[in-house]
């Protein structure tokens, strides 16, 4: 339950320690690294049947098609960069790639960026189904899930029917974007209560 399983960070070492001692860990080191690498994460999520954002590898500032979000492949989607116009593209591309030294993904901005905490497959967000899918796919007990809240075409506000809405009463659906660490120490009392409750449930990601 370290929460931060990023490569070579404390949680990751715990996973390696477990592996070297013949203990099965959840997540596995491979799952943890896959979740951190933004491209690997999206490819694996899509393979698992999760609805994902539309993305491609950003090759140059000139090739960007705003509005879009630049996400470093190295992970940490909370450090994503919004490109609203062609004018801001060169500066955002430079910042996101750290002057061309790292790869970034160009994600089509089909809706506003949202995030939710996930605790062992459970979330108090209306998009709890996505939280469960991410848990089943990546096996991370604690994480922050980022997604785009995309308007559902042709649907209007139906108070009882819409699982989520964009604030204007229009129903939305989540498109998975990526995962960030959620250290145990950053859980609120409400999250901890939830964790205490779900820890009594029999469940497995597989």
């Amino acid at each position: 339950m370290c929460g931060d399983y990023r490569f070579l960070r404390a949680g990751y070492w715990a996973l390696i320690d477990a592996e070297l001692n013949g203990v099965t860990s959840q997540p596995s080191p491979l799952q943890a690294a896959t979740a951190q690498n933004a491209a690997a994460c999206l490819l694996e999520a899509k393979r698992a049947g999760i609805d994902c954002v539309t993305w491609r590898v950003a090759r140059s500032a000139e090739s960007l098609e705003p509005p879009c979000i630049l996400v470093p492949v190295a992970g940490l989607t909370d450090a994503s960069y919004e490109v609203r116009s062609k004018r801001s593209a060169p500066m955002q591309f430079r910042r996101a790639t750290q002057n061309g030294t790292r790869a970034v993904l160009e994600v089509r901005a089909d809706g506003p960026l949202r995030s939710m905490k996930m605790v062992v497959g459970v979330s108090t967000s209306p998009e709890f189904r996505l939280a469960w899918q991410v848990w089943r796919t990546f096996g991370l007990p604690l994480c922050v899930i980022h997604y785009l809240a995309v308007p559902v075409p042709g649907e209007h506000a139906e108070p009882d029917a819409a699982p989520a809405e964009n604030g204007n009463g229009h129903p939305t659906r989540p498109l998975f974007l990526g995962i960030d660490p959620l250290p145990l120490g950053e859980l609120s009392q409400r999250d901890l209560d939830l964790l205490e409750e779900v820890s009594t449930w029999p469940m497995s990601p597989s």
């Binding site: 490569f7 070579l8 960070r9 404390a10 070492w13 390696i16 070297l20 080191p29 491979l30 690294a33 896959t34 951190q36 690498n37 491209a39 690997a40 490819l43 694996e44 393979r47 491609r56 590898v57 090759r59 492949v73 190295a74 992970g75 790292r102 790869a103």
Partner: protein, 298 residues
Amino acid sequence: MAHVALVTEAASRARTPEARAMRAYAESAPSRGHSVEVIDVADFHRIPEFDAVFLRLDTNVLGLSFAASRYAWGLGLRVVDDPRSILTCMNKAHTQGLLERAGVPTPETILLTRAGKESLDADAVFAELGSPVVVKAPSGAFSSAVEMARDAEQLRHQVTRFASRSDVVLLQRFVPSAFDWRVGVLGGELLYACRYRFPKGGWRVRDKAEGEGRMRWARIEPVPLAEVPELVLETGLLAANAVGTGLYGVDIKESEDGSVVVIEVNDNPNIDYDGEIAADSPLWAEIIDRVATRGPRA
């Protein structure tokens, strides 16, 4: 018969010995019934078109190379380097653990954790490992994360520097030598061997030569497997098999008494055209055949 993707990037295609090696793979593959196509690492959508994937670019857990490998792995393709090997070899502490578990001889090593860094007793380290001590960050290629400490001040400086990258730093007994053996293994079998002769006065594959300010690469001396000491080959194979069944370059130091220690197991080892492997070698076709028929898959 397999269609093999050679996954590359602009930097690897621009390096002449690597570009020539790519051509050698492509030209020799049909002799073993395979075909090879060079693709760019950003072209993920093309990966499902192939039977096997062979990465020929710098691997990085936090880069596109890992994503390509992981995707191919998830699709059930044969893939070299497979994502597990990338993860293991990019973490020297993980590799060290696997080598020790498999009984592979390595230099005496201390794993220093973040907590251990705070209470670092330099005298005790030098007493245990001798002087100088080799300080390694778990992740780093081409000697970029390997330094030497001759006194307590240098030790603390290097440990602090590397601790910013990782929660664990390796301290290792220094084993002097004029060269490293490099043993190439693919699919659980020996592939090639060579000596990496360090720049004069240096101790790393990439180092400053005596009296010079700039870094130089070690000189590559290919050696036929039949001429390599048996213990070097056995140890190289043992070390590679402790990590996996992909392609590895095992770095080994041989002492004057003939004893050997494994310094490192590298995934995605450098294989230059007319460098590690001779231009007219049958190994170019052999490598593609092993990737296509024996490469690791999920």
